[in-house]
Structures are given as structure tokens and as C-alpha cells.
């Protein structure tokens, strides 16, 4: 039984000793991580390290093989389906691939969480939805269908849908992918604004350190199944450990593997002398 009482009330999510194996591949091997309330925490790392998997643990979509995941004082892997749904009503989740409902217009996609859980007058739903769409710059696109949107627009609609109920926690899985510099700048400001004015807790999965620097209060760098570095963006930028240097310097060689595990390159290309 994990310790459900937070060390202090400022910790919203506490993960201890997380171990995960998917298809025989070890994704996490003893990860400890704290997400403070009312702050924006960035999770960075090479693609395929398990950032999305970590978000799936936090939201109870996937149970870890070992370790504890406590969100808002609740032991997520052991929640009943009903309790899990009650917890998720307070979480906004921006999927990495947007995951808009293809049957519904942009407006109805954003209105979906409201219609499903609250009995609100149509007028109010309209106001809330249009406000959120305005915040992501897509009020004019309300009547379009998801198939008519570009990737970056779909991403912003999904963002509007994630925040439509003003949740206590918003998880942004790669929100900047496919955005042009103007939209990216607006989304960065929006995430910061939600956090400053509404006190939302944010978890931001992203690769763009320049954007992360502007929104995140703290950064976790995950690599090879472990926390490779942790600190404020400024601390990470100044960090001289090989992990951080390589990740932010973009080098292929270093402790963070760029190459998926493979046989010897020369052998694969069929150079027999490489066998020697």
C-alpha cells in the first residue's frame, strides 16, 4: 500500500519506484517523480523513452508493473472504474495525436465533455466553447469538421477541449508539434496564463527547450528508463552532465542512445571484414 498522505499538500502527483515493461522491453526502471500543485512541470526526453507511457500511468490508462502512482491522494492503479472516471473528470488530457472525434464538428468536439457531464443551458455551453476556441485562435473554425483541419489546428482544438472544464490538472502531450511560430507563441502564452490565472497544474511533454524555458517551473529529463536530470529550466541549461549536454546539444553520440538497439552497423551492411 503506497503512502497516500502527501509529504506536504503542495504535491499533486507522487510517483515512487515506477517499473514498467511493455512487450518485454523495459520502459521505466525505478522512476521517482513529484509534480507540485499549481506549477507547470515539463517532461522531456528522446522519443520512445516513455513520456506518453508515463502520462498513461498518471491517468490510469495503464497500470505499472511495480511502484506507486498517487494523484491527488488517490492510488491510481487501484482505483475502481467509477473512482477513476471521477478523477479523470478533473484532468484535461491533450493527446499526442489530437484524437478529435471524427463524427463531430470542432464546436461539438469542444462541447463534448460539457454535454456528457453537466446539464447546462445551450447558451452557456455556446459561450464557454467559443471562449475556449477564441483562446486558441479558432473561434472562426467552430463549424469545420476535424477532417478539414491541419495537424496544428487539430492540436489547438484538442487543447481547447482539454481545458474546457477548467480541470485541476492538464496534461499536454507534445502540444507544439505542427504549430507555426505564431501559434506556438500563443499556445505557450495560453499554458502560462492558465497556470497563472486559474492555478492549474500542468504537465508538459515537449521537445522544444526554448518554449519549455518560457512556461515550465521545473523540468524532468527522462532517458533510458530513469530520471536523467531534474531542476528548473535555468539549472538544466547550465547543467554540465553528459546527459543534459547531449540532449540539448542534439548529439547522436553520448549516454542517451539515438539509435534503436541494433546489430553492428557494418555487419548489417554486409561487410564481411567487420566480423573479424
Amino acid at each position: 500500500m503506497p503512502d497516500l498522505t502527501p509529504a506536504d499538500d503542495s504535491t499533486l502527483i507522487r510517483i515512487r519506484g515506477l517499473k514498467t515493461v511493455l512487450n518485454g522491453k523495459t520502459i521505466f526502471d525505478g522512476v521517482d517523480l513529484d509534480i507540485p500543485r499549481g506549477k507547470v512541470t515539463a517532461v522531456m526526453g528522446p522519443s520512445g523513452t516513455g513520456k506518453t507511457t508515463l502520462m498513461r500511468h498518471i491517468t490510469g490508462q495503464l497500470a505499472p508493473d511495480a511502484g506507486s502512482v498517487v494523484v491527488d491522494g488517490r492510488d491510481v492503479p487501484r482505483l475502481s472504474r467509477g473512482d477513476l472516471f471521477r478523477l479523470r473528470e478533473k484532468i484535461g488530457y491533450l493527446f499526442q495525436n489530437s484524437a478529435l472525434l471524427t463524427d463531430f464538428s470542432v464546436f461539438e468536439n469542444v462541447a463534448f465533455p460539457l454535454r456528457q457531464h453537466l446539464r447546462l443551458p445551450e447558451e452557456l455551453i455556446r459561450n464557454i466553447v467559443l471562449t475556449k476556441l477564441q483562446a486558441v485562435g479558432l473561434r472562426g473554425a467552430a463549424e469545420l469538421m476535424p477532417s478539414e483541419l491541419s495537424g496544428g489546428m487539430a492540436r489547438r482544438v484538442a487543447l481547447a477541449r482539454a481545458i474546457v472544464r477548467d480541470p485541476m490538472l492538464v496534461i499536454y502531450d507534445e502540444p507544439f508539434v505542427g504549430l507555426d511560430p505564431i501559434a506556438l507563441n500563443q499556445v505557450v502564452k495560453l499554458i502560462r496564463m492558465l497556470n497563472d490565472t486559474l492555478g492549474l497544474t500542468g504537465i508538459l511533454v515537449a521537445h522544444e527547450f526554448s518554449a519549455v524555458k518560457r512556461v515550465a517551473d521545473q523540468v524532468y529529463l527522462i532517458a533510458a528508463g530513469k530520471i536523467a536530470a531534474h531542476g528548473t529550466p535555468a539549472e538544466l541549461a547550465a547543467d554540465t552532465s553528459p546527459w543534459t549536454r547531449q540532449f540539448f546539444g542534439g548529439e547522436a553520440d553520448g549516454p542517451v542512445p539515438f539509435h534503436y538497439p541494433a546489430r553492428d552497423y557494418a555487419l548489417d551492411l554486409g561487410f564481411p571484414e567487420a566480423r573479424a
Partner: protein
């Protein structure tokens, strides 16, 4: 793997699939109360699977009836019994051809689109997105389609039967010159509402349940890739056809 190991694994895999499908049925039934909150979804799905299948059902019903009229007129004329054409055609339709052919057409038209739709929702994370918005995809996506199949199938079978009898009437009366009054009066005096019509409708209800169960199960459990969805769609037609014909035999034996 030993040579004998493979078929045994396939057999075990098949049995496991049937078991999983049975559990899936239980969770669909358990989600029925929750799905009543989304009653508009069910109505929308009745429209989709029902109204969209109407064209194919009506066309095929007409042709099946016309062929039946021709063939049976020929057979009956050997015994000098062409007056029984209406009776024989309508019994064949009500008892067998209506429910079975409608079910096979339904599997091809509506079953495949249900599988492809749910499979694509799985592949594009829409089902996970619903879960994350605290909406149960079983209650919102699967159960409404299941109920719609159970509701739409008997209605479609009725349409099929009506068009079939109309087709036989066209051939027998309008073309081959059978007496109109004989055609109808022989039919109405020898077709029994309970034994023939209602029993046939029970079959359609069962077929509707089985086909939409297979279609939703295949879509819901598909590997989340375009290949996976394609295979799942094929499997829906193959499994539905086999199960419908097998179930038809069993039900006929019990309902006789």
C-alpha cells in the same frame, strides 16, 4: 514450435477469442443502462445501420422474390399446383430466406462499416480520448450500435419479405398470368402469424444481435493499425456469415 503445436495454438486462440467475445457481450449488456443516457446515439445508429441498408435490402428482396416466383412456378406447374405459388413463396421468405438473406446482406453492409468505424476510432485514440473524458466508450459507442442492430434487423427483414412477395407477384400474376385472387387468398389462408411470421422475426432479432456483437467486438479489439482494421473488417463478414447460417440451423430445429 512443434508442427503439432501450431494448429493446437490456433485452436486455443480461437476458443480464447470466443470466450473474449462472450465476456464482451456481458459488458455490452452491463452497459445498457448507462447507454440509455445516450439514447439519441442509439436512435442515430438505428438510422445509420437501418436506413443506410434499405436500398440493398429492397433491391435484393425484389430480385430474390422474382427468382423464387419463376423457379417455384416451374416446379409447381409439374404437379399442376401453381395456385399455391403465393403460399410457397411467402412461407419460404418468412421462415428462411427473409431472415437469413437479410442477415447476410446486413453483415456486408452494416457490419463492415461498424467494424471499420470502431476500429478507426481505436486506431486514432478516439476511444482512449473518451475514456479520458470519463465517458465509457462501451456505453457511448458500442452498446448503441448493438441495440441498433437488434432493432433494425427485424424491420429490415420485414421490408425484404414485403419486396420479395411483391417480386413473386410481379412474375406470377403480372407476367405468367396467375389469378390475382388465388395468389393472395391461398397465401393468407395458409400462412400462420405465430408459427411462420413471428418465428422468422425471432430469427432476425438473434441474427441482428450476433452480427453487431461480432462487428463491434472485431472493431473494439482490432490492432490499432490500418492493416488491423482491414483484417478485422474481413473477419466480421466471414464470422458473421458462418455464425448466422449455423445459428439458423439450430433455431430452425428448435422453432419447428
Amino acid at each position: 514450435m512443434t508442427p503439432a503445436g501450431k494448429p493446437r495454438n490456433a485452436l486455443a486462440g480461437g476458443i480464447a477469442q470466443i470466450g473474449a467475445c462472450g465476456l464482451f457481450l456481458l459488458s455490452i449488456l452491463a452497459a445498457v443502462p448507462a447507454s440509455l443516457r445516450h439514447i439519441r446515439e442509439t436512435v442515430r445508429q438505428v438510422w445509420f445501420v437501418g436506413a443506410m441498408s434499405l436500398t440493398i435490402i429492397m433491391t435484393c428482396g425484389l430480385f430474390v422474390g422474382m427468382v423464387l416466383g419463376l423457379q417455384l412456378y416451374y416446379v409447381l406447374s409439374i404437379f399442376g399446383g401453381t395456385a399455391a405459388l403465393g403460399t410457397v413463396v411467402s412461407l419460404a421468405l418468412y421462415r428462411e430466406l427473409g431472415p437469413v438473406v437479410t442477415a447476410l446482406l446486413f453483415a456486408g453492409r452494416a457490419g463492415t462499416s461498424i467494424t471499420a468505424e470502431i476500429g478507426l476510432m481505436r486506431a486514432t485514440d478516439q476511444l482512449s480520448a473518451m475514456e479520458m473524458m470519463a465517458v465509457d466508450p462501451l456505453a457511448y459507442v458500442v452498446t448503441p450500435r448493438f441495440l441498433a442492430g437488434v432493432i433494425a434487423m427485424p424491420l429490415l427483414a420485414c421490408v425484404f419479405n414485403a419486396l420479395g412477395i411483391f417480386g413473386a407477384h410481379l412474375v406470377g400474376v403480372a407476367w405468367l398470368g396467375l389469378d390475382n385472387g388465388t395468389f393472395w387468398s391461398n397465401m393468407t389462408s395458409s400462412v400462420d402469424v405465430w408459427k411462420d411470421v413471428i418465428n422468422g422475426l425471432w430469427k432476425s432479432v438473434a441474427f441482428g444481435a450476433v452480427i453487431t456483437l461480432i462487428a463491434t467486438f472485431q472493431g473494439y479489439t482490432t490492432p490499432p493499425t490500418s492493416e488491423g482494421v482491414a483484417y478485422a473488417t474481413t473477419r466480421t463478414v466471414v464470422f458473421s456469415s458462418i455464425v448466422v447460417l449455423a445459428l439458423d440451423f439450430v433455431m430452425t430445429a428448435f422453432l419447428m
